[in-house]
Amino acid sequence: MDLRNWILERVSPAVMVVSSPAADAICREKNGLTVVDLLRPHGSFHHLSVPVRTVGDTSYRIRELQLRFFHSQTMTQPSREVADEHLHQLLNTLAKEHVDNEPTSMVHLLRKGSLSYQTPWFERYRQEFFRMLAFAEHECYDHPVACLYVVHVDAEDIVAELQQLQAGGNVPPLMRQGLMEASILQHCLVLHDATSEGGDARAQEQLKTLAARSNCSCSLMKVHVGTSDRKANGEPGHAGLWRAHFQPRLPRASAGELPDRPEEPDQGLGAALSSTDLKTITQVLEDFTVRYLLPDLELRLRALNQQVLVSRKGLRNQLKSLWRGKSASSTSLANNSNNHTAPAPETPGRTGPTPTAAGGQAYSTGSMEFQMRMLADVAFLMQDYELAGTTLRLLAADFKSDRAWKHYAGAQEMLALASFMAGASMATVTAAFSEAFSAYTEVARAAREPAAMVRYATRTALMLAEYQRAHGQFPEAHSALLQGYRQEYEMGSSMRAALLLEQAALFQLHRTPALTHKFAFYIVLAGTEYQKSSLLRLRAHAYRQALPVYQGKEWNYIKEHLHDALGKQLREGGEPVAAARHFVALLPGAFNPEAWQAYFLQQLLDTVQEAAAKGKVPPLDLPVPEVDVSRVLVRHDDHICHADSAALSQPLDQWRLLEGPLGAGAEGTTSWLDEPSSKAAVRPPTIVADEPLTLTLNMSNPMKLPLRLSHLRLSCSHSLCRDEASLSQYVQADELEFTLDPSDAVQIGLSVRPLQPGMLTVDGLEWTLNDHVRGFRAFPARDPAPSRRTTGVRRGAAVRDRRILQSRTFNVIPAMPRLEVHMENAPPSLLQGQLFCCRLSLRNTGPTPLKSLRMATLHPDIHLAPLDPSHDDDPLGPLSQSSADTQPGAHSGASPPHQHSPLGQSRVVARSHTAKHGVHVQTWPSELAIEPGQALRWNLWLHPRSYEPLLALLSWCYEAAQSPSDGPRQRLLRMTARYDVQPALAVTPVLTPSAQDLHKHLLRLDLDNSQGATALDISEVACSTPGWSLTPIADRGHAGAAPSAIGGSTGRPGVQHQHLEMPAGTRRAAFFHLHPPTRSGGNVTSGVRWMEADAGPLAHFQARPSHPPTEARGTRRTSDTSTDGASPSPAPVPSPSRAAPPGSPFAAAQGPLWDSPNILVAWRSHAQPASTSGEALGAEVPQAVGAVHLLDCRLQEGQAPIRALAEGCGRVTHDFAAAGACSVPLRLHLRNCLPHPAGLSVEAGHMQPHTAPSEAGAWRCLSVPADGPVQASDSQAVGPPAALDHLWCGCACTRIPDLPSGHQTSITLQVAVFAPGLYKIADYGIGWTTTSQGAQQGSFPGPPFLLQVDAAVPS
């Protein structure tokens, strides 16, 4: 409220109304109003301009004035008990009107910056509280300044009737006691009913009669002229005007109100009064005010001022007062006054005021103090605030000297108001209020009824607080209210104490910064006080205001106290649903012992049952069990299906790379045009009708009690569903039921299946706790904000994580075909190099057929068979028959028949090709359709070639057989195949040229099964390169190597086929001759093999390099060479992985003669790798077969490009007696292994003997058996070179100008020895030069030749 306006309304002239019964009856019968009710709305004058002059020489104008009208007998103060009872009932009524169960939180308003007063009951209470304190004997502004007699014009003797009213004794009690001024203005109002008989002439005649014969002024008020305005509802147009001025009634006439009100007529309040009547009443009252009241007050004020000037003002009077005591002047003044009631007899032995029955002191109207107070109050009413203030200061000093503290406090209170209205400083006003408060407090302490006196102190505190609040001094206002609270608290008036505390708490919020903690403290204290006074709704309101302060900060004891109190109160008040919400807040109470938790839980259950008995109970936001709704994983399929969670977790780029060649999906090709705009509306995710939407979330039980959960399901709504009863026709939700033990945490998956297209909204989770309480937890309604990835995509690109629930709304499109791929015999793990045939079941689980099936993968270790299982070639050869008994599904021939195959009897061929980025795409015939429920079986070969988990991505693309009217045409299925790979056989080839043949190579295979846990049999070593062949070499039995069993040839070139056992943890070596193809082309591998390396899946695996680092790497070879799946015979693709170093002669050696062969080592195990989980120990496990691909075997670095072979008679017998020198021919075969012609030269006798590098080739250095006389001439001898024991004869240097590539030639050398013995002929060298493609040259020692010469025994 505005303090100034409030003061103008509150401290305004009071007019006592005395009406005749006839006049009163007119108003009651026709309008349901009393005369006072009729006048009250018209007592405000806002456009006056009345010049008045009070005590000074200058006049001023009164422009606004408010008159208060009271029945004469109601101008008395009710007793404290009556007033408090009335105020208590009023508060209860107001609380019912204004307090609801969901009040606006002041703290929330504060945080939003829109804090406003939310306590309308306080405003009304304060108004009524002040009304209850009106008409006090120690203040005069409520005393009547005029008496208005109202008589009816129809009275037979109107003068007599007026005199009867004047003599009727209808005066206020205080006036009767002489404590209220009785000499006041009297005015007679003649009420003229226009509808009555007689008319205006009689009314005028009566008025003249009355004016002539009565001793007071008169005026005529004509009512009931015209017809009343009506509202649309039939109510009189001005009914609200009268009702707005009604005041609550008390049991007895007091506080300005009668105990009863006239009955409201059927036509409504003021039914007979028209707008003309209202104008007439206003005009009459304004005329009364301007012509009679204000002049009378002006004269009265001057008279009072004159009396005060004579007796109390001026230096002489002050000195007199000090010297003789003012009582003398007071008494004399009182005795000289004829118009006033005689003063009360003075108490013997004491001067000053008279003690009253209430325990206070009273000054009679004749006393000087009363006159001064009257002067001050009339001056205030006349808006001469300076005069009022001056008089009150003087008066206050007198009261103080009299120790009349109540009057002193009243004077100070009025002085504060006058100072405020006069514009005095805040300090002056505040000091006056504080002084008044202190004085009232002092009076209360000494009073016989202190509680009654404390009310005045409270009134002062309220005015002071309002004054300080209006000036923004909230801390001071808070302190003022707290002082008032303490007084009321001590008096036991908890109602006012609560109100004061509540307002004091609100002031804490208005401080800067807001003191929310103190606000909460005081508002809770206020609630406690409300509870003491049985104002429970207000207590609940106070507690609810405090709750937000304590929320979320773990002040659990306080929160528990508040919620428990609120819950119990609401339950007792018959609001169990609202009570249950507070009892819910008591859970889980993890800090409470188990017994308390059980008590709170039972309290909740009882309340909910009580509420259920009354009606339906809405789901509660239960905190138990704890549900992590911040991270809810969602699983749904749109036009892209994910077979498993691993497929969802793969980076999107990998899938895009795969699906690009399939030509499916919008996600396959994205550009900056496709990036979602941050401002554009994000479309909800899409799901397909009749397919499940699965949400996975975590749930835990924080209590020390087990919780039984039933009907746990997702709460959904469908856009087409209008009522909850028919929801089951649109949505089908799964339900769970289980018990959560204390402190348990579980992860649950809940599914919902939309049955119709439309918009599906998943609102949250609902369940029933302990079979009674329905709980609900809403999922956060957040926008599907995209998450930013830091790697893999360009900066700024935002990608949504499909796995996390980001939108509660889903767009349901019509049903589509749905492909589900199942691996029927998926192994738990594989051995490195194992070849496993996995049988796929491609089933259409959708309601419509599908066609145009395609598949794409990048992984080189998997291969989808090109033919349907019934026609697929068997790549395992003869072994397949033997292994089929123990390895179900290990090959295609074991495929069981199926009844609903879409294949029929025709042969289905899937075409395959390698697309961009090395994506292997397999396409089924477009006419192949899979009907709903049918399955297509196909073989998938797995061949992990490295010791690391096999993770392959497969993307399947298909189309609906019938083009859909709405939604996408194509659909994708993303699946992963992941297998653990256990170590098995590792093979390292070492290839060296053969020393005995210019064509052959020596191959040593280091077989390593040291890391494996499975015993293996090496079943076959084969060279898969066309034209190349292998022949075994018997094991020399060197240290550390077991005798090889691969010794026997099967008679088939290129394939060696015998078992070599490789127990777990062993290493072995095997040795072979490797025969390159001849130019004639006759040596070609043929015949039946154990494992077809050049056909079927092995050919596929051999053609694709082993295990690329990642699928997404874009640096793959690109070849669009399409091959027909019907004749899968891919040419071997040389691996570029082992290229010769640049600059070496091998760098250019890419011709067919220098080609590197591929070698296949096939093995089988006695047992499959053990299952990690599925298979029990000791169970029979099938046999496994596998292969190791040795691709691109090459000679070791450092081998000469020209191969040489010395040939001759190694042992000769010579008769040295006959001839001293023995000449032995040595034939040297030379072969050009370079890809281009080369010139050769052989020089004998100029090269140091060649020292073979040890441990470098297939052969190791052997010690020559010393079983005969050896005259080795190794150059390793220390010292000067020994004399040669042999000589070269003939041509020492032979040149071969141009030897074509791949050709060989022979030259003959002659060496002569002179003594028998063993000779190592190695002192010759071979040089070579090339002219084409850059001249290169080199030389190397010739191969050593051992020559044993025996001396002939003479016959």
Binding site: Q508, P513, L515, T516, H517, F521, K553, Y557, I558, H561
Partner: protein, 139 residues
């Protein structure tokens, strides 16, 4: 002087420790919660006003506010941990209270130095409880 309640309040004004130092009913313990919570406004006011530029802040805040029966004293650490004592009449000397708070602070440091203590969680250490009881009983 008798200390009736000792409390530690965390950075986010969450209670870390609150213990009645005398035998107290549930209502009295609840009242201490309210009183300590109410004191936080004054703590924040005093913390905001206590330092001038270049001045080293004093952790001891003095009396925060009086209630009808008690006086509430406060102390704030550099890490915004608030230590609060609710004291019965007569009013203690500031130097005594400062020394008590320093001991209280030291006991708290011992607790948070425990690697098994999770910062920001309520203190349930029995040794801390014993330390606080020793502090308040030696007054």
């Amino acid at each position: 002087m008798t200390i009736t309640c000792a409390a530690v309040v965390g950075r986010a004004n969450n209670p870390l420790y609150l213990e009645a130092c005398k035998p107290a009913s549930d209502e009295e313990v609840l009242k201490y919660h309210y009183v300590v919570h109410c004191a936080l406004d004054t703590v924040e006011e005093k913390v905001a006003l206590r330092t001038q530029p270049g001045e080293i802040a004093d952790s001891y805040l003095g009396m925060l506010y009086p209630t009808e029966d008690h006086k509430v004293y406060g102390y704030v650490s550099n890490t915004s941990i608030k230590f609060i004592f609710v004291v019965e009449e007569p009013a203690p000397k500031d130097e005594d209270m400062r020394a008590l708070f320093k001991r209280f602070h030291a006991a708290f440091i011992d607790v948070v130095s425990n690697p098994f203590y999770e910062i920001g969680q309520p203190i349930t250490s029995t040794s801390f409880d014993a330390s606080v009881r020793t502090i308040v009983t030696t007054v």
